[in-house]
């Protein structure tokens, strides 16, 4: 089963590649992409460490609630590992 993750809700200043509309939203990891230099450092010409990058798939229902055109349509985005946290399991 695909791993469920949630995008952290932090709002740091500066250049980040995690869109605000996805923060706090939960999805599943669609695939892992390997490691890439952290754009939050690269943008300022700073030495950039490599960070793992994931493609996370969200449902439109998760993103837009009742406003979603079709709840099961999806949105995939690339999110860096340091922006993701494990979603607490609600299953009993």
């Amino acid at each position: 089963m695909a791993e469920r993750v949630r995008v952290k809700t932090m709002m740091p200043p500066g250049h980040v590649r995690a869109p605000a509309y996805l923060r706090g939203k939960s999805g599943v990891i669609e695939r892992t992409l390997g490691s890439f230099k952290n754009p939050e450092k690269l943008a300022y010409g700073l030495p950039a460490e490599e960070r793992p990058l994931y493609r996370v798939r969200f449902t439109m229902a998760e993103l837009w609630g009742a406003d979603a055109e079709i709840p099961d349509d999806t949105l995939d985005a690339e999110i860096y590992g340091h922006w993701l946290e494990q979603e607490p399991s609600h299953a009993s």
Partner: protein
């Protein structure tokens, strides 16, 4: 005497407004670009002709490159598998110089339609398809494609049935995306080159479908 006419409310003889000359000061970033380029040339790191050659190389890239990749995938099942596994390697295999671009191909099927957007800026598979269309970079497309993709597709003339799943792909970081459209019906007898002529730029962004034969 073509120039012997009066100015008609600022309109040209053809009835269109004159385009204003760009007699305005350079912006900060234009000044910085010129300063950096001239310094690099003066210090011998690059030449002006190398800069021009790079611009030529980018302008030479066009949707025809992507169309050739799509057509190959339609006629060669093994290539299709390689394309879906690693679209960068598959594009290079066909001889396209895509530089360091990390490319993912997403496949349209009878059940699934894919749409590409970059909400944060204008990420686009330029190294394969050339420069993006202007609308791709607008705030309207970038914000609406993720929020109401079906309404956006409707405005492009594409109405998908409710039972089809739309997968929107937001190019937020290091990957770029190209849609592998579904091969149109009635094309069994067509050659690879004829098939490539059916593949439009928009069909590789997901805002359209390939032409019908």
């Amino acid at each position: 005497m073509p120039h012997d006419h009066h100015d008609h409310d600022g309109l040209s003889p053809s009835g269109h407004p004159y385009r204003t000359d760009n007699d305005v000061p350079l912006t900060y970033w234009q000044t910085m670009e010129i300063a950096l380029r001239e310094l690099l040339i003066e210090k011998g790191h690059i030449t002006a002709s190398e800069v021009s050659a790079q611009i030529d190389a980018m302008d030479a890239r066009s949707p025809a490159n992507g169309a050739a990749v799509v057509a190959r995938a339609w006629v060669d099942p093994d290539f299709r598998q390689r394309l879906l596994a690693d679209a960068s390697a598959a594009s290079r295999e066909m001889g396209f110089d895509i530089g360091p671009m990390n490319l993912i191909a997403v496949e349209n099927t009878a059940e699934t339609h894919n749409l590409i957007v970059c909400t944060l800026c204008s990420c686009y598979p330029r190294n394969l398809l050339g420069l993006p269309p202007d609308w791709y970079k607008t705030r309207a497309y970038r914000s609406r494609a993720v929020r109401e993709p079906r309404a956006v597709l409707h405005e492009f003339g594409l109405d998908l049935p409710q039972h089809m799943t739309i997968r929107v792909h937001d190019s937020t970081a290091d990957m770029r995306y190209v849609v592998l459209p579904a091969r149109p019906a009635g094309t069994n007898a067509m050659t690879e080159a004829e098939l490539a002529a059916l593949v439009t730029r928009d069909s590789m962004i997901g805002t359209g479908l390939p032409r019908r034969p």
